[in-house]
Symmetry: C2
Subunit: 353 residues, 2 copies
């Protein structure tokens, strides 16, 4: 029987509650398929700062590195927002991504028919949307040097090298090969030199994927097209900050932001987290929606552990739960037959797997 | 009788057609109010490259500088997309903005009730949206040094100095004072040092506008909030590239992208242009929608020439034309009683002023 080690980072706000439900569901699929998960908890984010004086303790990095995957809840909150940058929860997350070599962030935006109405977009625009943002995660302006702020002048550097672009481009093309075989690379090549290199390199890499249709779009146009006709996209390939902006926009368009998972991969150990934040305002009330975290756990099974059948079980269970009308409070207005607490819906999903 | 000099840049694609209609309307309001406009044509963009070998001839800059305002159509097209950067139409536009000192780009996004249905957003989300993006236009990563691309490494610098941030912040707060007195400053201060300086400086400037409510939003969240609830915004203040992305997103949300004007101001001479592009695919067919350009002409009267009454006349005429069901082809499905050509709708607006 296979045994996998999972590093668990519950984090701040609703993080602990939603991760608990993901673990509940994971345990139920383990029992049905033939493997075992061993969890080890690590501190990160505001809670790590409070207990250890740093948002990312060394033992957390080490613990993640010796695990098979990292399951992540959410971090941050107003409480830590005015700390100097090096102590902020976000800084811990950026450092962890870098330390684990997670150069690719995959964010699927699928539409659940049951929740079509939850979007501010018209259902006829939304129906059938199924896109994947492939965002470069440990380069670009997030990490570029030189950077600084002396109180008179502030500056950051958006920089990419060819190998950095190549590896994320390969990731996008390989993802597209498993999907509808369309890649749209987003840049600002009409203004930025770094984008020109991006575009040239993506074109070069694309030659190795003759079956994939490649197009290019300026980032301002992409921000429009996501609103105008999100169905046109299959895989969106882009850099760190453009990906940050566009993937959030895409997720909001879907109306299902409480249901969207993400995978950060490419290094030794993958990290799996919901795309929503730590929502401190509703923490501890038992009303948080754990579905995005449970779907992230499913991505973990699929991408990090290769346990495809177990991953399928979870996804199917979630579809059934939505179909049967179980909803957390945030989605109470969208087809709810029964409004559930965080733990209730977690248990129902576990049962359904 | 007052006489104003207007530099006219028709540009590429549909540029010439739509500018002609704006001039038709301007001439009709001049006749009704007591001033005169003298137009002088200048080349810019692809057409300038074709005739003069450069997208921005020196005489165009000089001509603009000795005018009272610049009326601009649109530039660019696939034809020139593969030229080296220095010859591309966009490069001409960036240089012109810089040469004229146009540090502030104002993009109002209002919703025309008659066109509510033209948006992909639900009407109930859209109704009453009235926001203004104030985008810094001659700084940030568009112009920052060092920049380059040696084929292995590409890089650009996002840089702002305090005085650059101060002047655009003042512009935003002053705009807000004439509106609902709410400013949302958008940055990525949780990651970027340049954004931290941006935020600190905006807070400092805000002290001079105690009546204005200031909030801050990360750019990824802003991209979501524009979709989730665009009505929450009054003035959005942001830097060059974030403004590029968010203002295009905002305009698409409105569903009225063919109707949105912009003003680039702050230097000696203001430049007024529609936010849409040059649409080479429909050029010369007489079906382009000139309303955004006509509204840009109205902004020119208001902001550059102080001819408020004439500006009001144009805006009122456009409202009436929409109300009476005249539409260009692009809006034929949204309440059209009569589908008009470019010149027809221009003439009707001129009559209505
Ligand atoms: C918290 C923040 C640093 C982070 C980012 O910008 O990458 C977040 O927005 C995300 O997208 O994961
Ligand atoms: C054409 C391009 C250089 C320009 C920009 O990015 O500023 C355009 O997108 C705009 O917003 O006016």
């Amino acid at each position: 029987k296979k045994i996998y080690k999972i590093a668990v980072i519950r984090g701040d706000g609703i993080g602990p509650e939603i991760v608990d439900e993901a673990i509940k569901v994971l345990d139920s699929v383990c029992a049905k398929e033939d493997f075992e998960l061993q969890y080890e908890d690590y501190l990160m984010g505001g809670v790590a700062y409070d207990f250890k004086g740093t948002p990312l303790p060394d033992e957390t990095i080490e613990g993640c590195l010796k695990s098979d995957a990292v399951l992540f809840g959410a971090i941050g909150g107003e409480k830590w927002d005015s700390l100097p940058r090096e102590f902020r929860p976000e800084t811990g997350l950026l450092k962890l991504r870098k330390a684990l070599g997670l150069f690719a962030n995959l964010r699927p935006t699928a539409i659940f028919d049951e929740l079509l109405d939850a979007s501010t977009l018209k259902p006829e625009v939304l129906k059938g949307v199924d896109l994947l943002v492939v965002r470069e995660l440990i380069g670009g302006i997030y990490f570029g040097e030189p950077r600084g702020n002396d109180g008179f002048k502030g500056y950051n550097t958006m920089v990419y090298t060819k190998p950095e672009i190549e590896r994320i481009a390969h990731m996008a093309f390989e993802s597209a090969m498993k999907r509808r075989k369309i890649v749209c690379s987003v840049d600002k090549a009409n203004v930025l030199e770094v984008s020109q290199l991006w575009r040239d390199t993506v074109i070069e890499v694309s030659k190795q994927y003759p079956e994939v249709t490649l197009s290019h779009m300026y980032v301002d146009n992409a921000a429009m097209q996501l609103v105008r006709n999100p169905r046109q996209f299959d895989v969106i390939l882009t850099g760190n900050i453009f990906g940050d902006i566009l993937s959030d926009e895409a997720s909001m368009i879907s109306g299902s932001i409480g249901l969207l998972p993400s995978a950060s991969i490419g290094g030794k150990v993958g990290l799996f987290e919901p795309i929503h934040g730590s929502a401190p305002d509703i923490a501890g009330q038992g009303i948080a929606n754990p579905l995005a975290t449970i779907l992230s756990a499913s991505m973990m099974l699929r991408f990090a552990l290769g346990e495809t059948k177990a991953a399928d079980r979870i996804e199917l269970a979630i579809k059934k739960v939505l179909h049967d009308g179980y909803r957390t409070k945030d989605l109470a207005n969208y087809g709810a037959k029964e409004v559930c607490s965080t733990t209730q819906i977690g248990s129902i999903i576990a049962d359904y797997t």
